[in-house]
């Protein structure tokens, strides 16, 4: 199956490119920082360790996968490797989806590696839910980074756009809460701004509802809420894939 072969190449490239070492370094750094901070905590030292490690590893996994996807894709474009691949008897969709499947598998491997240290503080079931959520989140980020890399064809803009989308998606609930606060002015400009914020929120995934540190500290999430959060992630990943395929088919390579 051609897509599976492409995915395997992507995984091989990630392993040879040092991604496992970067993941190991992130885990060591997060554990070290958590151990240091818990020394000054008077209470909740275990909760502090778990929350710091979870938050740092989530951010690290997302950053590593976005940077890896962008650098790998742009290297292929710059080395004319993509053009060579397109000369093969493979459809563009197969090439795009095969590559994305490989990146999503890299993200899943990162999620498992990042979740493993959390077994020190939380139950296996809760950690498994957290890891599955992180795997879906990294798949979304991989889809976003692949889309921006193909579209913008430059490393820094591709990483900046992926990071911008991710940070905005994670902050959107807080921004909406500020915009709709009871103390806010009820003038027309404010209403327009609030409407604009709500409109932007419609175009973003609800990342504040997934991979929550609170699950590790206060118990697993409600099954319905968890399923809805993951369904939202998958829906948005599907949108990014559709947009990426649309752009890739349209491009004159």
């Amino acid at each position: 199956m051609p897509a599976a072969i492409l995915a395997r190449f992507v995984l091989l490239e990630a392993r040879r490119g040092g991604l496992p070492w970067l993941a190991a370094a992130s885990i060591a750094l997060a554990l070290g920082l958590a151990a240091f901070l818990s020394q000054v905590a008077l209470t909740e030292s275990l909760a502090l360790q778990a929350s710091i490690v979870a938050a740092l590893l989530r951010a690290s996994a997302v950053f590593l996968i976005a940077a890896h996807v962008a650098s790998s894709t742009l290297r292929e474009i710059n080395d004319k490797e993509l053009e060579r691949m397109l000369s093969l008897p493979l459809s563009r969709s197969t090439q795009y989806l095969g590559r994305l499947a490989g990146f999503a598998l890299c993200g899943a491997a990162l999620a498992v590696a990042c979740a493993a240290p959390l077994l020190l503080w939380a139950s296996a079931g809760t950690v498994a839910l957290w890891a599955l959520s992180l795997a879906c989140e990294t798949a979304l980020v991989a889809a976003a980074a692949l889309f921006f890399s193909m579209t913008l064809a430059q490393l820094v803009p591709a990483i900046a756009a992926s990071a911008g989308l991710y940070v905005l998606a994670r902050s959107m609930a807080a921004i909406q809460s500020i915009a709709g606060g009871p103390l806010a002015d009820a003038s027309l400009p404010h209403e327009v701004a609030r409407w604009a914020v709500d409109a932007i929120a419609l175009l973003l995934p609800r990342l504040e509802t997934v991979t929550r540190t609170g699950w590790l500290l206060y118990g697993p999430p409600d099954a319905g809420a968890y399923a809805a959060a993951l369904a939202g992630l998958m829906l948005y990943t599907g949108l990014l894939i559709a947009a990426g395929l649309f752009d890739f088919h349209r491009r004159n390579l």
Binding site: L42, T43, E44, A47, A174
Partner: protein, 241 residues
């Protein structure tokens, strides 16, 4: 050695010298600029909880604890014999309130308010911290009653304010509804009215919390044991704080 790198002898002497000198300059410069521990006056006004939430990028639990460590450092370091006695407590409780809004299930802000900030040898500041504990208890009585129970003991033994202690004790009895709240906590009024020393009362309360499994964190257990030992030693010396 990396196949892309040449041997170290290929580096010209002036490059070695420049690297050594710039490293020495950096170390010298930084060693003269050690930051002082944050003083009481440095505590800035608390940000709105919404601003903290925005800055946390949806990592409320981790951010709440990091901000708590940040606040805890003010007026603590250096050769400070009486920590926290110079802090602006209105500002301080504003920070604690914002942190609790960020993560309402965290026990850290109430622990610090009841066990650390309320125990400063300054009646006015102690009362502000105790009132903060009382106000926050009202928002979630079934979870936050242990801090108000300690506040009741402080009000009686440190402030000598029996009315305030009874008000706190009555609030525990009146507002808690959970089966998990032990009988001794519901009957704190008797506890307060009895002619019991501070040490005896503290031992009963901590013993009750430990028996119930309410203190699970090793750092907290260590801190409370140290506090109990200090109290015991102070009473043995016959001195009153």
């Amino acid at each position: 050695m990396n196949r892309d790198a040449r041997a170290l002898v290929c580096v010209p002497p002036w490059a070695w010298l420049a690297l050594g000198l710039s490293l020495a300059a950096q170390l010298t410069w930084q060693s003269t600029r050690q930051p002082a521990p944050p003083a009481a006056a440095d505590l800035p006004p608390p940000p709105p909880a919404q601003a903290l939430r925005l800055a946390s990028f949806a990592e409320a639990e981790a951010s709440a604890r990091l901000v708590m460590l940040y606040v805890q450092a003010f007026d603590l370091g250096g050769g400070n014999a009486l920590p926290y006695k110079n802090l602006d407590y209105r500002r301080l409780t504003g920070w604690l309130r914002a942190i609790l809004e960020l993560d309402p299930r965290s026990e850290y802000p109430l622990f610090l308010a009841a066990r650390v900030y309320a125990e400063v040898p300054d009646e006015a500041r102690s009362r502000i911290a105790l009132e903060f504990v009382y106000q926050e208890f009202l928002k979630d009585p079934n979870r936050r009653w242990p801090w108000l129970a300690h506040a009741a003991l402080l009000a009686k033994h440190r402030l000598g304010d029996l009315a305030l202690a009874r008000r706190f004790a009555a609030a525990i009895d009146h507002y808690t509804t959970s089966e998990d709240v032990p009988l001794w906590a519901r009957q704190m009024d008797i506890f307060i009215l009895e002619d019991m020393s501070e040490l005896e009362a503290a031992k009963i309360m901590l013993g009750g919390l430990l028996a119930k499994g309410a203190i699970r964190d090793p750092a907290e257990a260590r801190f409370l044991k140290q506090r109990l030992d200090e109290l015991e030693a102070r009473i043995a010396r016959g001195t009153k704080r």
